[in-house]
Amino acid sequence: MQTAIQETPGIQITALKKAFGQQQVLDGVDLEVPRGKITVVIGRSGTGKSVLLKHVMGLIVPDSGSVRVGNDLLADLGPRALRNVRFRFGMVFQNAALFDSMDVFENVAFPLREHGIEHGLHPGQQGTPLGTARLRGRAREAAIRERVEGMLAAVGLRDMGYKAVSELSGGMRKRVGLARALVRGPEFLLYDEPTTGLDPIMTAQIDNLIRATQDANPGITSLVISHDMAASFRIADHMAMLYEGKIRMNGTPAEIRSTADPVVRQFIEGRLDGPIPLG
């Protein structure tokens, strides 16, 4: 089972184009996100990294081009099939996107309550069809509590479950969003700037969590968006830079670090002088 999943492809983005009104945000993005690895996409803010990530889950429909998840071409899927693909994803939104009608605990418990606690625990463990919860009543509640509390502890929020979302700092929100994305053990993990706005210690802790989650589950696929260069080099197996609507460069961290491309160099070194227009 495990090996079968590891042999299926990851995410394949082909010639993706998307414009909002006059603004051509994505202008032919080609990107392969291999299974079993962490791919980090870097790029200036406003270049369309979040838009790219939303295409991967079909939250935005492209003007042209395609996204393939595993063996499924998103454009070919009906609502039901798309739902089944989304079951396999966990997404950390840039601004957390927590449900402010619920407290921290219920935010993290939400995917479990909706889709059951027995399923989706990383590929290879999906023995039963999704959506049929076998545990009932108090046993189910206890299982949910255990899982959620474990998840909160892993993101450094032990005993914070009772807090209202409005009482959290930006960094805490982000970590709750991370816990919510990871709680069902998804097969594809999408992180939109998971560490932006966190302090250096917390950044290192979250980076470790992303790396450890990937390493513990070789069948999963992580796609991280970041503009924290140090962290990107630390966790990435693969890196790609999004620039002016296209993938400017794509390679291992070592290849990126030693590139001669002036655009990439300017970005990773954070210099003001160079080909990237300021504004």
Partner: protein, 260 residues
Amino acid sequence: MNILSALGATIIAQFEALGGYLLFVGKSATAGFLPPYRVRLLLKQMHFVGVESLTIVVITSIFTGMVFAIQAEIGFSQFGANGLIGGIVALSLTRELSPVLTALMVNGRVGSAMAAELGTMRVTEQVDALESMAIDPMQYLVAPRVLASIVMVPALTMIFNVIGLAGCWYVAVQQLQVPEGGFWARIWWFVDEDDVLGGCFKGAVFGFILSSIGCYQGFHTRGGAEGVGRATTRAVVISGVLILTSDYFLTRILAPLSVG
């Protein structure tokens, strides 16, 4: 030529907006009929739309009943027909005033809240988050709100009827000395169940209008806090206008009911 093409563009835009709205309504209706049924969310919305609107409905209904009793007395006293006050006010309440005023009050409270809440969820990506978790926002957010409003606005309309009549009774019988027996007799004589049911039917339609417009505006919010403000205003204004215009057509449709 320019005027024509501008006019054409405006008309097309209006039809597109109408089409978008009808599609939205269709999707939420489909989502509402398919499992899983969100009973808990429905109850929560029924509480919000119905129970939490009780205070404003009680206050507006009692004063409406009292004011209309005073106004009716001004007319009827000239014929020495004060005994008709109860019947006329009851007829106005059940057929028109209760559904329309209830809907307008609930629109101000609930329609605006739905637009603001869904609008905030949209701009803070909570709607995207639901979709990313394979949950249909139509089913989770929209269907319970619309259904709760279709049920609760008629219920509030009934309460408006009863309390409005109590206000009318207080002014007519206690202050204007209309004989108690005649007061009630005229009410039973004027008002029959078709009037009451017709008013409730109007309430259900108005509940549908204010909730579906509120949700639609919220769901399609763009542009941060400012966008949420715009969506809220539009929801209240559009629903208010639609409630009053549709009332005319509903009255035309319902009128034959009580003539026969």
